[in-house]
């Protein structure tokens, strides 16, 4: 099954990885963005994916819940191949929360309604129940008092935290973060990272595409460096970020860290 040189075996304690990618490939026309990715994320672990723009890291993340349709290979969630045609994607996605670079809050709904919508329509929770959960998760991201505000009335950092709350309200088993802080003003980044760090410490399984090297170093259990559609280097954060082995990672880190 695994034809990759370095078979992923990050955590021997976990029997079944929460997320496992096997030979994942994705091409847009002639442009091959992912060239056979093998990666496994054990439950309750945080994996950060770093790399230059265009390296395929966002595409990889979007293949995990099949927002992007893989061109080849397999995506296994809790050991089940979700690229199988019989798979009910709506059910899969209920278990995988996703946070986007551009927040993608529903602009016509208040923060509270953003958080209750899928609970009511997908999980069929009652209005009262959805409301209760929504207020609890908004409180968790520090925005209890903004429940009635509309997205346009919130700062970018607040919008992103509502987006996290919206995903959390579905009680996901794992979370995907697609450059969650890249669109934020620098002074707002910290609040969002704090929420993500808390989630990690509470044992959420997280796959995080990020440019925040500090976050990767402090929070990640495992860091993956992608370059030109392949995993170029991976390992514990101190090793990957501290003693990069490949010239490409060394160059990348120099560029990122010299600022």
């Amino acid at each position: 099954m695994t034809d990759a040189p370095a078979a992923p075996s990050s955590t021997p304690s976990a029997d079944i990885p929460a997320i496992e990618l096997r030979g994942l490939r994705k091409a847009f026309g002639d442009n091959e963005v992912l060239k056979g990715i093998d990666l496994s994320v054990a439950p309750k672990k945080v994996i950060c994916i770093i790399g230059a723009s265009g390296s395929g890291k966002s595409t990889l993340l979007r293949c995990v819940n099949r927002l992007e349709e893989p061109s080849g290979g397999q995506v296994l969630i809790d050991g089940i191949d979700i690229t199988h045609p019989d798979c009910d994607l709506d059910l899969v996605r209920q278990r995988i929360g996703m946070v986007f670079q551009q927040f993608n809050l529903f602009p016509h709904l208040s923060a509270l309604d953003n958080v209750t919508l899928a609970q009511r329509k997908v999980l069929r929770r009652s209005d009262e129940q959805a409301d209760e959960v929504a207020r609890a998760v908004l409180d968790r991201v520090g925005l209890a008092e903004k429940a009635d505000a509309y997205p346009s009335q919130l700062s970018g950092g607040q919008q992103q935290r509502v987006a996290i709350a919206r995903a959390l309200a579905m009680n996901p088993e794992m979370m995907l973060f697609d450059e969650a802080t890249s669109a934020l003003d620098p002074e707002l980044v910290g609040d969002v990272l704090d929420v993500m760090r808390t989630l990690a410490s509470e044992g959420m399984t997280m796959l995080v595409v990020t440019h925040e090297m500090g976050f990767a170093r402090r929070v990640a259990d495992h860091v993956v460096f992608m370059d030109q559609g392949v995993i170029c280097e991976q390992g514990p954060p101190d090793q990957v970020l501290g003693t990069p082995q490949t010239p490409r990672l060394q160059q990348f880190l120099e560029k990122v860290l010299e600022h």
Binding site: R93, Q94, Q102, A118, S152, A167
Partner: protein, 287 residues
Amino acid sequence: MTDIPVSDDGRLGEGDLPELYRSGRAKQARAKRNRILSYAAGIGVFVAVALLGDWGKIQEAYFDPESAKVLFPEIITTATKNTLIYTFGAFVGGVAIGLLMAVMKMSSLRPYRWFAITYIEIFRGLPALLTIFIVGFGTPTALGVQFPTIFGVPTAGIISLALVAGAYLAETIRAGIQGVPKGQVEAARSLGMSPSLTTRVVVIPQAFRLVIPPLTNEMVLLLKDTALLAALGTTATTVELTKFGRDAFSINLNNTPFIVAGVMYLMLTIPLTYLVGRLEKRNMASR
């Protein structure tokens, strides 16, 4: 720099100016001269018209109070009322057709797409007046169909205008639906919403807000196009504004009924146009 004389109000004196300032002054002087010439030309034309026009005759022919007085109250209670019924009827029908055609044009099934494209091309390509003739004169004669009446007016005109408006509105509505950012659909799908649920609770509400301004615009166009129904021939109870003005004109060949009818149209269209501007500004703000 320091040796340029400067007056108390901060203007530079005449002295030995650098090229930058001399050139700037020359440009300002030219702009001022052009402004004065523009005003002079406009005032000249205005004065000429005021002096040469036979104002007594013009007032009598266009703004005759007696000719205006006899138009009331029928011009409001019948003609304007009917114009509004034609407009709203055609608008509601047009939105229904437009929504259907927009959805069909985005369908994954090819025959539906073809049908919608054909419909839109035909009714956008034909003169509205021809469509009105086909529906209003041709169809009852050819098929022996009698169109029913609603609110006291025949539906032939409403149907023909709705057919035309539907073709235009289909494109407007489709643009609105496709104008909702892709990220909105992705966010909804990532929460486990099905495609149809996503369309219902995320896409349509946002598309609706996007299309309200162009929809209102279309209503203004429809309101004016109801004048074409004059060609179908109307009775004293089903007459719309333009035909009403035309009939009143025939009585004593005075322009005043046209002017009053025009004022009626403007009293409806200008607020609507103003509303479109407001709605567009609000949409901008909420983005």
